[in-house]
């Protein structure tokens, strides 16, 4: 009981609020506004209701308005009463006139009391519309208009087809004149049903969307968890076990870093779909195999041709990386691949000890055969720049037909 009392208290001094006619925002006598406040509805709904009742059911609305005006006290207002909003009043009058004209043209207004269902249906629809919370109402309107706009042509075509089809059918049967009142009622009923069902359908739809989003989120979370578990935790364990070997620790950390980066930033792509992807893959493999960091920078890109010139070039580049990793004693290797017009260039550079190119024995297959020979056989060139103590740079160039 105490709870109810505390709940009731802020409501005001009287347990039942008496209806009054406010001066502020009134259009005619403030009846609609007062009624709206009393029923916590939008005044527009009440006004439309009065207009509807007046036009459709032989002026009932006017009479009701007059009676309410007489029995409802004016709300006390100090000073000059504010001006009425004439433009809004004009709008409601226009709606009334339009409704009357519509009824007169269709012959519906002759029905008198018979038109009551029409009015009741209309008022019901208005109240339901008002009951839906404003945000959802707005989203309906905007959503509907958006879909309408998107499929404007199709919607219009559909409506025209249906109307023409129905009219044609009725004309053929010679029953168009009799069908008119029936059609009107059908329209009202369908409209009413739509308004009644709409909030429920919208709620259902919203729930479905929410559920779908939640499911996607959960799948993503599961994927992240799998990634962290399978690779990151695994690598951390391995690192602890080989903590005495700095080279191995670096190799593990690098390989894990690369994997994570790929997962985070790289669009899922076929490993060897392009030359840049191919260079990155080869560099990653050699980095893993030899434990020397290989930094790759790629500019431009080109579709890869397995078994063709680019494949040969990639093999030569791999050999250059292997040489640098194995023999140069450089702390890191830089690889730069560039596609410019019809030319692909790959540079492999280290800062290691370098060597004397002329002193390399003729039977050293690595450089002569795997790099220079291979490039030349496929119509490319390989140049090498090295000096003892200055590091080594291998430059591979290949022309390709860019279609």
């Amino acid at each position: 009981m105490a709870d109810q009392k505390t709940l009731a208290e802020p409501g005001g001094d009287a347990p039942y609020r008496r209806m009054t006619r406010p001066m502020e925002g009134r259009l005619l006598g403030g009846v609609a506004q007062g009624l709206a406040t009393q029923l916590s509805l939008d005044p527009i709904v009440i006004r439309l209701m009065f207009v509807l009742l007046s036009v459709v059911v032989d002026g009932v609305g006017v009479v009701a308005y007059a009676v309410l005006w007489m029995i409802t006290p004016k709300q006390p207002y100090e000073g000059q009463p504010p001006q009425r909003d004439w433009s809004q009043l004009a709008a409601f009058t226009a709606i009334g006139v339009a409704l009357f004209a519509f009824g007169w043209l269709t012959g519906a207004s002759k029905g008198g009391i018979g038109m009551l269902p029409f009015a009741v249906g209309g008022i019901g629809a208005l109240i339901l519309w008002q009951q839906a919370d404003p945000e959802r109402r707005k989203s309906w309107v905007s959503g509907a208009s958006r879909t309408m706009r998107k499929n404007r042509v199709r919607t219009l075509l559909g409506v025209v087809l249906v109307v023409v089809g129905a009219a044609g059918f009725l004309v053929m049967q010679g029953e168009l004149a009799q069908a008119r009142p029936g059609l009107l009622f059908t329209a009202v009923v369908v409209g009413g049903l739509a308004v009644i069902a709409a909030p429920w359908l919208a709620g259902l739809w919203k729930e479905l969307q929410l559920e779908r989003r939640e499911r996607i989120r959960q799948e993503e979370r599961a994927e992240v968890a799998a990634m962290v578990h399978d690779s990151v935790l695994h690598t951390l364990t391995l690192i602890q076990r080989v903590a005495h070997d700095p080279r191995e620790v670096t190799r593990l950390a690098r390989s894990q870093e690369r994997e994570l980066r790929n997962w985070l930033y790289q669009p899922a792509q076929d490993a060897d779909a392009t030359i840049a992807a191919g260079v990155r893959r080869v560099a990653a493999e050699e980095e893993d195999a030899h434990g020397v960091p290989i930094e790759v920078v790629c500019v431009g890109d080109l579709a890869f041709d397995p078994g063709g010139r680019l494949a040969a070039m990639l093999k030569a580049a791999r050999q250059a990386m292997v040489n640098a990793a194995k023999y140069s004693e450089s702390p890191s290797i830089s690889v730069y691949a560039e596609v410019e017009g019809e030319e692909v260039t790959i540079f492999v550079k280290d800062r290691g000890k370098g060597f004397d190119l002329d002193a390399v024995p003729a039977d050293r297959m690595g450089i002569r055969e795997s790099i220079i020979g291979r490039m030349e056989r496929h119509g490319g060139t390989a140049r090498m720049r090295t000096e003892p103590g200055e590091g080594t740079e291998v430059m591979l160039t290949m022309k390709v037909e860019n279609e």
Binding site: R261, V297, S334
Partner: protein
């Protein structure tokens, strides 16, 4: 003595950098988020701010916007684990004078800080690659030819940076002085920051490569 402020949200990383920097550099303070960074920069007025790209409260770009927006002349060197094009291009266009990745060695970092303190620009090989790529895709007509394209020389310098050459090696290769190399890189930085080509940002977002 170059006075440096380190802004990074990882305490371990801040102390690591502090330990690695050479004797020619004095660390005057540290900050761990956007708010404390803006405050510390105003208080210490460092020569160079080492700025992390990803931080709580808006990240490095927010610090750049607030500090440089207030008319400060402090110089920024961005430092990040991320090599994503949108991050790199984002902080450079936000006003940073260089971009290096966190796996840079202590000596290289000291060098980069000195260079930024002297008003030059610092490009990592990857940043050079990004710039070459971004300025190469020139399908749309440029609005300002001076700002929207690189000169032949600038292109050569950037290509050498991308190939892993140090400034000194570039100077030797092109028969120019180190100072001239620095001038070319600064000029590229200016173009990168001022060019209106909307392609640049679009390119960076479209290309989410490492």
């Amino acid at each position: 003595m170059t006075r440096v402020l380190i802004v990074d949200d990882h305490r371990l990383f801040r102390s690591g950098v502090r330990a690695e920097l050479g004797d020619s550099i004095e660390v005057v303070g540290e900050a761990e988020d956007v708010e404390s960074a803006v405050r510390a920069i105003a208080e210490h007025q460092p020569d160079v701010v080492l700025l992390d790209v990803h931080m709580p409260g808006g990240g490095g770009q927010e610090v750049l916007r607030r500090v440089l927006g207030s008319g400060s002349q402090v110089r920024f060197l961005a430092l990040s684990v991320s090599d994503a094009a949108e991050d790199v291009i984002g902080v450079i266009r936000g006003g940073a004078r260089g971009y290096v990745t966190k796996n840079i060695s202590g000596k290289e970092l000291t060098d980069a800080i000195r260079r930024v303190a002297e008003g030059d620009a610092v490009f990592s090989p990857r940043l050079a690659g990004f710039v070459l790529d971004a300025f190469a895709s020139s399908e749309a007509p440029s609005i300002d030819p001076e700002l929207d394209s690189l000169t032949q020389r600038e292109r050569e310098v950037l290509r050498l940076i991308a190939r892993g050459y140090a400034y000194k090696e570039i100077a030797k290769e092109l028969f120019i002085s180190v100072k001239t190399v620095e001038t070319h890189v600064s000029s590229v930085l200016r173009k990168l920051q001022l060019s209106n080509r909307h392609e640049l940002s679009r390119w960076a977002t479209a290309r989410r490569l490492v």
